[in-house]
Symmetry: C2
Subunit: 351 residues, 2 copies
């Protein structure tokens, strides 16, 4: 659009929520019928390339914005996907949202996001609010929901992808990895490296069911793989997942369980805080105490020493869920799916 | 809801996008008229507390979900806010989204998000797609937009908050801080600490206008505050903002400009990568080279040495923008505003 055209348009009066440029304006500009403009927007495959080009140019020149809310209500599709995550600012979920967005946006879908702040009651409220907006698909972190939330999602008949864990009773489809198996593999790794006194540390009272699954798996794995060894867990309660909490968990572990030779954290963020504290305090890692994390954040590759951890497919969870939802929403398949993206133990210098 | 009620409801047949539980079902369950149910949802202040409680219980028991799309079309309000950000997974924007969500969600607004991937052409597409969904408000990162994007936003008459920088010509309201003034303050700080050969390093070809503003401010500030000193900038081009790029920028700076006594990074992420590389390579910070960052990420407080940086109000940008939008959307005020949240130089061990 030329600057002249912009200047001409910005002086045109317009009302709130009622865009001044109408379908009829576009039709007049393109010298076609309003029906042709409408058809070009809704069913471009039915319109000749020549006409489509004219209409596209006129839409651009006039600044016309079709009212998708009205159009979607007529077509019974909202072209939206709701994403329900525990926290917007946690980078693991942000990575998945980015993956989801990259798959859905090119197909014309927009993402609605909402965060539960790890409160199950809030999850139900959010699900209700989102369903009221008739999304074409739903992405939800976790496989543990209240009976009401599960019921609302099932009853809605909207394609749903649960993510970040696996379950025997999915609402619909599920994309993730086994948090239990990942911790079991890490405990096995520690035993094979010759460690004898493992301790697990994290924040386990925050409503994060995946953290609880990791803790339960640690307890079972120690019972199975370290016969006779007590199960040691250091719990920071509801503390946030940050470097400060990691430092604190290190200090508490050394005070409560000085025999610990490998300290296994429920997140790389805790582990990084602990490794940096060790550097400052002159504690040798892994000489005095070995450290492992969970998540394979970029920081782990740069710490001194580099961090042994479990790599989990955050971004791929988003892209796989996006592709699954797309297939369901566009009628390509009616099948539900369980996609196990796996994990891997990444051995580096810290353990 | 009891488990029995759930079991009864999940066996009821329902169709895609047409929820089986209707307003009439709720009315029958509550033994009131459909009009009363409708009024309870739209105008609860007009309904007695006793009736409201009955209707609420029946909504919960039946699992009824009102169709907000139809209701919003009737009321000309969508109860949605669009957020247009450069990248979902960058933590600074995720922090602002979290702030925005915390303010808007309790008032019943849902966030639509879209990311431009720092491509101006994509920004216009996104704005067009979002406007088609008739949001009640728009949050957009940055103050540099294409003429078409600016025109579409102005013409829409929807309240808009631009964020993360300040501008003399806002579309509507703006919430941020001066990137230029922040870098100027940091260069002054370096001069006052006695450094003589500053170098600035970052990724400046990614479409990030704020990074370019910081670079331009560095160049002007060195001219003004270090007379006779050449302006040294190390540019990683389009490299992503991560620890690896920070390491690489450190190596390139030491090769190209060995006289550098203070290396000023455009982001804490680069600075953290460089400080960790120095720890590994046995380079003393600040003895051999001082380092500063930008953004005050949590990692900076835990690095050895801790990082000198500029604290900027990421989360507050989200909450302030949310409050501003709320006031505009609910008709509380028609005033546009410019909110400068400021910044502060945080002096720590690295410079």
């Amino acid at each position: 659009m030329s600057d002249g055209a912009v200047a001409a348009l910005v002086t045109r009066p317009s009302r709130r929520s009622t865009h001044s440029v109408t379908l009829e304006d576009v039709a007049r500009h393109a010298q076609v019928s309003p029906q042709t403009v409408s058809r070009s927007i809704r069913s471009p495959q039915l319109v000749s390339e020549f006409t489509l080009e004219r209409v596209r140019n006129s839409i651009s020149e006039t600044g016309y914005v079709p009212n998708l809310a009205a159009s979607n209500l007529a077509s019974n599709r909202s072209m939206t996907v709701a994403a329900i995550i525990p926290a917007v600012s946690a980078s693991v979920f942000a990575d998945a949202l980015q993956g989801l967005e990259e798959v859905l946006a090119p197909e014309g879908y927009q993402l609605f996001i909402g965060s539960t702040s790890y409160r199950p009651g809030h999850e139900e409220e959010l699900v209700r609010a989102f369903l009221g907006r008739r999304p074409d698909g739903i992405f939800i972190v976790g496989t543990d929901h209240s009976p009401n939330t599960g019921h609302l999602l099932r009853e809605s008949k909207v394609p749903v992808v649960e993510a970040w864990d696996l379950t025997d009773a999915p609402i619909d489809s599920v994309v993730g990895f086994s948090n239990s198996a990942a911790i079991r593999a890490l405990v096995e790794f520690a035993r094979d490296r010759g460690y004898r006194h493992p301790t697990f540390a994290g924040s386990f009272q925050t409503g994060d069911f995946r953290a609880l699954a990791r803790r339960a798996s640690f307890e079972e794995s120690v019972d199975a793989l370290f016969p006779g060894e007590p199960v040691r867990v250091v719990d920071s309660g509801t503390a946030t997942v940050d470097y400060d909490t990691g430092r604190r968990l290190l200090t508490e572990t050394r005070a409560a369980h000085p025999e610990t030779d490998v300290l296994m954290f429920a997140s790389d963020v805790f582990a990084a805080g602990a490794v940096l504290e060790c550097a400052r305090a002159g504690i040798s890692v892994p000489g005095d105490i070995a450290v492992t994390g969970f998540g394979d954040f970029e920081i782990g590759r740069h710490l001194v020493p580099t961090l042994t951890t479990v790599a989990v497919p955050n971004r791929q969870i988003g892209t796989a869920a996006g592709e699954l939802l797309l297939a369901r929403m566009t009628g390509g398949t009616r099948e539900t799916a369980e996609i196990d993206l796996g994990f891997s133990v990444v051995a580096r210098e810290s353990a």
